[in-house]
């Protein structure tokens, strides 16, 4: 078990290192002359040279990458080119907002997805199962900007239950923000909800067909006992991994949803940075999101290993 965690941790660190290289290459080499990109086409050669020297663009790439990485790890994320503010403070204030939204969404779709998936699997081939299957196949195909627009049309424009815009004050508390979180949270949940439902259903169906579930019934356990003591634990084990992979979808969904609802989160910050070609901000936001995604995968791996005796007692 300890060795397993160490190995996974090693993998994650190596992957993060490689991802940082990819981000560096994508942001600082692919676009060509960064100085020109920042100052625009009509900049004087002197201004360009000064900026290059200032940004250290004259140094060899390896050195540039090394110093960038060291600074990043040490918490020096640079100054935003478009706002002249330290990147780190900006990113973390937005991260808090995104985390609030993600948390509300997570608390909705994970339990609901598991319940719906279980329900469909336990009533396999019934009408409920078919409805859930078709429903989830449909929701998995509805982009957030479609569901978001539909929700806004119904619940804010027609019914006036919730505001159409979720532009909260950057330092609003959770409770203040909550009414404005409802619609975006539902929007961002639907795809992940459908995904978790489908995967839970598949793994539960598989477990229900195993010999040990038959053994459990033939011991004389009542159906609810079989489901609680024998089916759930084994069926939800793969769901742990599924939820972690779903966080990748959740991050993508947040970018679109925050943009649609004008919600001041990390996703909208990233789009803002992209529009302004604000390289330090793009780098920091992207790297942070990759770290979050990798850590959630690592956590899932550890939980999986802990719950699975085959790994725990190797």
């Amino acid at each position: 078990m300890g060795r397993f965690i160490l190995r996974r941790l090693g993998f994650v660190l190596l992957t993060l290192l490689a991802s940082s290289m990819l981000i560096f290459v994508a942001t600082q080499i692919l676009p060509g002359d960064v100085a020109k990109m920042i100052l625009g086409r009509f900049a004087t050669p002197e201004a360009l040279a000064n900026l290059r020297a200032e940004l250290g663009l004259n140094r060899p790439l390896v050195i540039q990458y090394g110093s960038w990485l060291i600074n990043f790890v040490q918490g020096d994320w640079g100054i935003s080119l478009s706002t002249d503010n330290p990147v780190m403070a900006l990113v973390f204030s937005r991260l808090r907002n995104s985390a609030m939204l993600a948390l509300v969404a997570f608390a909705m779709y994970v339990p609901l997805g598991i319940i719906l998936g279980l329900l469909a699997a336990l009533r396999r081939n019934s009408l409920i199962d078919q409805a859930i299957s078709i429903g989830s196949l449909s929701f998995i195909g509805l982009p957030e900007f479609v569901t978001g627009v539909i929700l806004i049309t119904i619940f804010s424009l027609k019914l006036h239950w919730f505001p159409a815009s979720s532009a909260i004050a950057p330092d609003a508390t959770f409770l203040e923000a909550l009414p404005r979180l409802v619609l975006p949270a539902i929007t961002v949940s639907l795809v992940s909800l459908a995904y978790i439902t489908r995967m839970t259903r598949a793994s539960t169906v598989e477990v229900l067909q195993t010999d040990y579930v038959r053994t459990a019934y033939l011991k004389g356990l009542r159906p609810y006992q079989v489901i609680f003591f024998h089916v759930l634990r084994n069926a939800l084990l793969p769901t742990v991994t599924v939820v972690a992979i779903g966080i990748g979808w959740l991050i993508g969904g947040l970018i679109v949803t925050e943009s649609l609802f004008s919600y001041p989160g990390l996703g909208r910050l990233l789009l803002f940075a992209i529009q302004r070609q604000d390289l330090p901000l793009i780098q920091a936001t992207t790297m942070l999101l990759v770290v979050i995604f990798s850590l959630s995968n690592l956590t899932a791996d550890i939980i999986y290993a802990y719950l699975n005796p085959r790994i725990r007692y190797q």
Binding site: G248, I251, I282
Partner: protein, 300 residues
Amino acid sequence: MVIKTPDPVSGKHNTGKHARRPRHQGRWRELLRNPFAFAGTLIFLFFLTMAFVGPLVAPYGFENQDIAARLKPPDATHFFGTDQYGRDVFSRILAGSRGIFLLGGIGTLLATIIGTSIGLFAGYYGRMWDEILMRVLDILLAFPPLLLALVLLATVGSSLTNLIVVVTILYVPMLARVVRSMVLDLKTTEFVEAAKTRGEKNSYILFREILPNALAPLLVEMSMRFSYAIFLVASLGFLGLGVQPPSPDWGLQINEARAYFSTAPWMLLFPAGTISLLVIATNLMSDGLRHILQPDIGKQ
């Protein structure tokens, strides 16, 4: 209560004395029997046809501007209304079908070709190559998909070619993994070992013994990827990083329509609905395909 015991009539009771239908013949009929999968396939085929003939059958040219008829709601002349330049939304949607299939289709196809090659190679030769290739792909998988697409497009700029490249980069790792795991399974089957003991070349084993048996699941995976690709391209269009104006691209239409949402919601709702329709239809189709081609595999 769900109880499963082996059904003594199907499968297990394989007598061989009686002529049985070849394996796939009966299953295509199953697709017709599943109304959702059937409808999905029809819708998919409709849009595929439109990708070729859309501009020809559309009532208006997709670039035809009619300033007098700006922002008109849907009626008998303009089924889906008109946009801010008086262009017919219905015609633009039909014409936009080509872009979607170009982007999503070519991207998925390229990803399939590259991913399959990597998967075959890594899975079959294994060991070192497998480790190296899979670790490299893991790096790409460490990015949430939309994030990777955004970062790449932000720096290289958005164009049709770049979008196709991005879709390809995104889906190569996933397809490579699927193919690799199939190869790992097939490589140890006895019919592949039998081919090895006959002294068949590696290329024969890979392409004549292994690949034909991996095609069915690969087809399912491809159709699933295609629907994700449409989803992705539309989302990028919405975020303003997709195809640039005046293309009739659906995502772009949606992005442009946002500004007019309160006055002309049809501009947004129809393309959005169309995207959802195609994605859902493709999902239903690939789910149907999965049941036909991989009846034993109930999971994704």
